[in-house]
C-alpha cells in the first residue's frame, strides 16, 4: 500500500477531521450565499433607480405631449434646470467572492445641471451601523481567515505526529527520504482544503463569476493555502510535539491573519491620516459664504466670457446657480485634491505594509480582482464627473436662454453607462 493511499485512509477514518471539513463546506456555502444576496441587492437597487428615472422621463414626455402651448405660442417643454439623470455603478464582477468596500460607497449618483463633484451623493448613510460593524462572512473572509485553520488542523502533525508516536524512523525506513514522505503526506492533507476551494470557485462560476476572474482568484487562493501548508510542514518538522506545532501555528495564524493586518491598518490611519472631514465641510461653506453676495457679478463675468449665452433669457436663479456652482467647484478643487492626495498617500502606505502579512496581501489581491476596492470606484467617479460635465454642456444653452427643453431634446438627453476599467 502506498503512503498516499495509507494517509488518505487515515484521514477518512478521523471523524473529527471529517466533521471539521463538513463545517467548512457549510461555511463556504453560506459565504457564497452572502455574495449572491449582496449582488442581487445591488443589482436590484440599480435596476429600480434606472426604472424610476425612465418612468419620470416618460411621465414628463406624456405631460409635454398633452399640454397646451405656452403664452408665447411655443410648444410645452421641460425646464432644463429640473432635469436629473442617475449615474449608477453596476455590481462589481467579482462581488460574489469579495464584498470589499461594498456598503461603504454609494453607487447611485444623481446628476443635475448644477451638480458639483462633491454633491453627487446625498443622504446615503441609511443602513444600520450594527450590521456593518459586525461584518460579513464572504468568500474572501472564509478563505483568508478561516481556511488556514483547516490547513493547520489537517497538517500540524504531518511530521510531529509521527515523532509523538515514535514512528518517524519507521516511516522513513519504509517510505524513503523524509522530504519525500512529508511532501506526499502534505499533498494528501492539503487536498481536502484545496477541494473545497475548487468547489467554491466552481460554484461561483455557475452562479455567474467570470471564469477568467475565477481562474486568477483560484490561483491566488491555491498559493495562499499551499503557503500555509509549507509553513505547517516546516513547523511540524521543527516542533518537539504535534501539540507544540499546533500552538506555534495558531500563534502564527493569530499574528498573520488578525493582529498584524489590524495593527498595520491602525498604523496607516494614525501615521498617514486623511485631512479632517470637518475642515473640508468648513472650506466648502467658507467658499459658499464668500460667493453668495457675488452671484450677479459672477454671472456677469461668465456671460462676458461666454457671449453666445448672453443673448437669451433673464438673469434668474438657474443661471446664477449654474455660475455659482461652477465657481464653487473651481475654488474647492485644491481642497478636494489635497484630500485625494492624502488618500492616495494612505493607500500607498497600505500597499507597502500589506507585505507584512500574507493574509492582508491575499485579501487585497482578491478584492482588487473582484473590483470591490477603491480602484474600480475611482474609475466610476471619474466617469460620473465626465458625464456630469457633458450633462452641463447639453443643458447650458437652454438654461441661459431661459427656454424649456422640447420633447425631442428630452428624449435625446444622455444616459450614463459605466465602462469597466
Amino acid at each position: 500500500m502506498s503512503l498516499i493511499t495509507l494517509e488518505t485512509r487515515l484521514l477518512t477514518r478521523s471523524r473529527g477531521l471529517i466533521a471539521l471539513w463538513i463545517g467548512f463546506a457549510l461555511l463556504l456555502a453560506y459565504a457564497l450565499a452572502t455574495g449572491l444576496a449582496t449582488q442581487a441587492r445591488w443589482q436590484q437597487a440599480v435596476d429600480a433607480q434606472r426604472a424610476a428615472t425612465e418612468e419620470t422621463y416618460a411621465t414628463e414626455l406624456a405631460r409635454i405631449a398633452s399640454a397646451a402651448p405656452d403664452a408665447s405660442g411655443l410648444p410645452a417643454g421641460a425646464p432644463p434646470a429640473r432635469q436629473r439623470m442617475d449615474a449608477t455603478l453596476p455590481p462589481a464582477p467579482g462581488l460574489l467572492i469579495a464584498l470589499g468596500d461594498t456598503g461603504a460607497r454609494p453607487v447611485i449618483a444623481s446628476v443635475r445641471y448644477a451638480t458639483r463633484a462633491d454633491t453627487l451623493f446625498k443622504n446615503v448613510e441609511v443602513g444600520n451601523g450594527v450590521t456593518r460593524a459586525l461584518g460579513a462572512l464572504d468568500f474572501t473572509f472564509w478563505l483568508v481567515v478561516l481556511m488556514p485553520l483547516l490547513v493547520i488542523a489537517f497538517t500540524h502533525d504531518v511530521v510531529a505526529g509521527e515523532r509523538d508516536a515514535q514512528r518517524l524512523h519507521l516511516v522513513q525506513a519504509q517510505a524513503g527520504a523524509l522530504r519525500g514522505v512529508v511532501l506526499r503526506r502534505l499533498i494528501v492533507r492539503l487536498a481536502p482544503g484545496l477541494v473545497l476551494v475548487v468547489l467554491g470557485f466552481a460554484s461561483a462560476i455557475v452562479l455567474g463569476l467570470p471564469a477568467s476572474l475565477a481562474a486568477c482568484a483560484a490561483l491566488i487562493a491555491a498559493l495562499y493555502l499551499l503557503g500555509w501548508g509549507a509553513v505547517c510542514a516546516w513547523v511540524s518538522h521543527r516542533a518537539a510535539t504535534a501539540q507544540a506545532a499546533a500552538a506555534w501555528l495558531l500563534v502564527g495564524w493569530l499574528l498573520v491573519v488578525i493582529v498584524i493586518p489590524a495593527a498595520t491598518a491602525l498604523a496607516v490611519q494614525t501615521l498617514a491620516p486623511v485631512p479632517s472631514r470637518s475642515e473640508q465641510v468648513l472650506a466648502v461653506r467658507q467658499v459658499q459664504l464668500a460667493l453668495q453676495p457675488r452671484a450677479t457679478e459672477l454671472l456677469g463675468q461668465y456671460l462676458t466670457d461666454h457671449p453666445e449665452l448672453a443673448k437669451g433669457g433673464s438673469a434668474g436663479f438657474a443661471q446664477k446657480n449654474f455660475v455659482m456652482q461652477r465657481e464653487t467647484e473651481a475654488r474647492l478643487a485644491p481642497v478636494f485634491a489635497q484630500f485625494e492626495q492624502a488618500q492616495l498617500k494612505q493607500e500607498r502606505a497600505a500597499a507597502m505594509l500589506q507585505w507584512l502579512s500574507p493574509a492582508a496581501l491575499t485579501q487585497r489581491a482578491l478584492v482588487r480582482l473582484a473590483g470591490t476596492d477603491s480602484i474600480r470606484y475611482r474609475a466610476y467617479l471619474t466617469q460620473v464627473n465626465a458625464f456630469s460635465e457633458g450633462w452641463r454642456t447639453t443643458l447650458r444653452e437652454p438654461v441661459f436662454a431661459g427656454r424649456n427643453l422640447t420633447a425631442d431634446e428630452l428624449k435625446a438627453l444622455p444616459r450614463f453607462r459605466f465602462v469597466e476599467p
Partner: protein, 470 residues
C-alpha cells in the same frame, strides 16, 4: 488558607512559570495599552475638532450679511457629533455612523462622513481597539493558558491521584477556574484601571463601572467554559482543538452570520429607494416651491380669508413665509413616518441579533459595551433627534422672518445680520448614562450565559467525581 485558594495559587504559579505564557500575557497587555493610548488620543483629537468646527461654522452662519431668510435656511448650519463618552475604549458603531450633519431647509439629512468610509480595507478583521482585545483576543489567551488545566492532569495520569487524595472535585475545579480568572482579572484590571482613573465626570465613572462589570462577567464565562471543555476532553490536544473551534465559531463566525441573518430578516433600506420613498410621500403634501400646487393655492385662499383680504398683494405679511412653513410642517410628518419605518427595521434586526445571542455571548456583550461606552445606535439617534429639533426651530425662525418682514419682496427680501445672531447657538449635550430596557435584556442574556457556564462547571465536577469512582 482554603483549599480553593491553595489550588488557585498553585495553578497560577505553574501557569506563569511558563515563559511562553508570560510572553503571551505581556504581549496582550502591551496591545491593550497601545490600543487604549491610540483610542484616547483619537477621542481627544475628535473632541477638539468638534469644538473648533462648531465655533467656526457658527461664525460662518453669523457672517452671512444681507441674505434672504430662505437662502439662509438652505445654507443652514452643520452639527458635528462629539465622540462617545468612552469611545477610546470601545468605538462601537462610531466608525460606521456619520460625524457631521447638515441642517438645511426641507430635508432632515443623515449624518455624513462616516470614518470607516475613509479607511482602506487592509485587515480581514477590522477595528483593533481595546474592546476588541478584551472581546476576542483575551479569550484566546485564556484558552492557551487554560486548555490543559484538567485535561493535562488526565494526560499526565495525575487526575486520579488528586481526586483520590480526598479533595472535593467541585472545590478543585473552582480553584482551577479561579487561577484562570486571576489571569483574566489582570487583563481586566489593566483595561479598566485606566478608564476608572481617567474618568473625568461622574457619568464617565458610572459608564466605566458598568463596562467593568459587564466585561468581568464575560471573562468569567470564558474562563468557566475553558475549564468545562478541559474537564471533558480526553487529551490536552483535543481540548485545545475544541476550544479553538469554539472560539473561531463563536467569536469570529457567529457575529458575521448573525449580521447577515439580520439583514436577510429585515433588509436595511437602500439609500436611493429611501429617497424615492421620501419624494413620493412628500408629493402628497404641499410644495412651497410650486405656485401651481393645489394645496398651496388652497392655503392662499385660507390665508386671504384669515386676513380678510381678497388678493395676495393685500396681505399684511409675505405669503411665501406661510407656505414655506406649511411645507416644513408637512416634511416633519414625512420624515417622522420614514424614520419610524427605519426604526422598525432596526428593531427587527436587533431582535434577530438578540435571538442569536443565545449562540454567542459576544453579541450581547458588544451590544451592552457600546451602550455603556456611548457609541451605539441609541446615542447616534439622540444626536440626530437633538439636531432635528434644532433644525425645526431654525426653519421656523427663518420662515417667520420671511412672513413678518418679507411682505411685497418675498424671495427678494434681504434680512439683516441681526437675524442670524438671534438664532440660538447649536449645542449638543450627549445623554447621561441610562440603562435602557434593551441594555438590561442584553445584560440578562449575558447573565444567563454566566448561569449556564456555572451549571456546566458544576456538572463537570460531578463528571470528575464519577470518573474518580470508576
Amino acid at each position: 488558607m482554603s483549599t480553593i485558594t491553595l489550588i488557585a495559587r498553585k495553578e497560577l504559579r505553574e501557569s506563569l512559570r511558563d515563559g511562553r505564557a508570560r510572553a503571551a500575557l505581556i504581549a496582550l497587555l502591551l496591545l491593550l495599552g497601545v490600543t487604549l493610548a491610540i483610542g484616547l488620543q483619537q477621542t481627544a483629537a475628535r473632541q477638539a475638532e468638534v469644538t473648533t468646527s462648531s465655533a467656526a461654522d457658527r461664525a460662518i452662519w453669523d457672517g452671512q450679511g444681507l441674505v434672504n431668510p430662505h437662502s439662509a435656511a438652505h445654507f443652514g448650519q452643520y452639527a458635528f457629533k462629539p465622540a462617545g463618552a468612552l469611545a477610546a475604549f470601545d468605538p462601537g458603531l462610531e466608525p460606521y455612523l456619520g460625524t457631521s450633519l447638515w441642517i438645511e431647509a426641507h430635508d432632515q439629512n443623515f449624518a455624513t462622513h462616516r470614518p470607516a468610509d475613509d479607511r482602506f480595507g487592509l485587515a480581514p478583521i477590522d477595528g483593533l481597539n481595546a474592546a476588541f482585545v478584551l472581546q476576542v483576543l483575551a479569550p484566546l489567551l485564556l484558552i492557551f493558558l487554560g486548555h490543559g488545566l484538567v485535561a493535562g492532569e488526565r494526560e499526565r495520569q495525575t487526575l486520579r491521584q488528586v481526586l483520590a487524595s480526598g479533595v472535593s472535585p467541585q472545590k478543585w475545579l473552582i480553584g482551577k477556574w479561579l487561577a484562570l480568572a486571576a489571569i483574566a482579572g489582570l487583563i481586566w484590571l489593566a483595561a479598566f484601571a485606566v478608564l476608572l482613573i481617567g474618568a473625568h465626570s461622574v457619568d464617565a465613572l458610572q459608564r466605566a463601572l458598568w463596562l467593568a462589570g459587564t466585561y468581568a462577567l464575560y471573562l468569567a464565562i470564558v474562563c468557566a467554559l475553558v475549564i468545562v471543555v478541559s474537564t471533558h476532553a480526553a487529551q490536552t490536544r483535543s481540548a485545545l482543538l475544541l476550544l479553538l473551534c469554539g472560539w473561531a465559531l463563536l467569536l469570529l463566525v457567529a457575529p458575521r452570520v448573525a449580521s447577515q441573518a439580520a439583514e436577510w430578516a429585515a433588509p436595511s433600506p437602500e439609500p436611493a429607494a429611501y429617497q424615492r420613498a421620501i419624494s413620493k410621500a412628500k408629493g402628497s403634501y404641499i410644495n412651497a416651491h410650486d405656485p401651481n400646487d393645489a394645496r398651496a393655492v388652497k392655503l392662499l385662499a385660507e390665508t386671504l380669508v384669515k386676513y380678510g383680504v381678497s388678493k395676495k398683494e393685500d396681505l399684511p405679511v409675505s405669503f411665501e413665509g406661510i407656505v414655506l412653513d406649511a411645507d416644513e410642517e408637512a416634511g416633519h410628518v414625512v420624515f417622522a413616518e420614514m424614520d419610524a419605518k427605519r426604526q422598525r427595521i432596526e428593531a427587527t434586526q436587533r431582535e434577530v441579533l438578540r435571538t442569536l445571542s443565545l449562540v454567542t455571548p459576544l453579541l450581547p456583550l458588544q451590544a451592552a459595551s457600546t451602550a455603556f461606552a456611548g457609541t451605539d445606535n441609541e446615542q447616534h439617534r439622540h444626536f440626530s433627534q437633538a439636531t432635528e429639533t434644532y433644525r425645526r426651530d431654525l426653519q421656523k425662525r427663518m420662515n417667520d422672518a420671511m412672513r413678518d418682514f418679507g411682505k411685497g419682496q418675498d424671495f427678494d427680501y434681504l434680512a439683516q445680520p441681526a437675524l442670524w445672531k438671534s438664532v440660538p447657538i447649536y449645542t449638543y449635550n450627549p445623554p447621561k448614562l441610562q440603562v435602557t430596557r434593551s441594555t438590561w435584556v442584553d445584560m440578562l442574556i449575558l447573565t444567563a450565559w454566566a448561569f449556564a457556564a456555572a451549571v456546566l462547571l458544576r456538572r463537570s465536577a460531578k463528571h470528575l467525581q464519577q470518573e474518580a469512582r470508576a
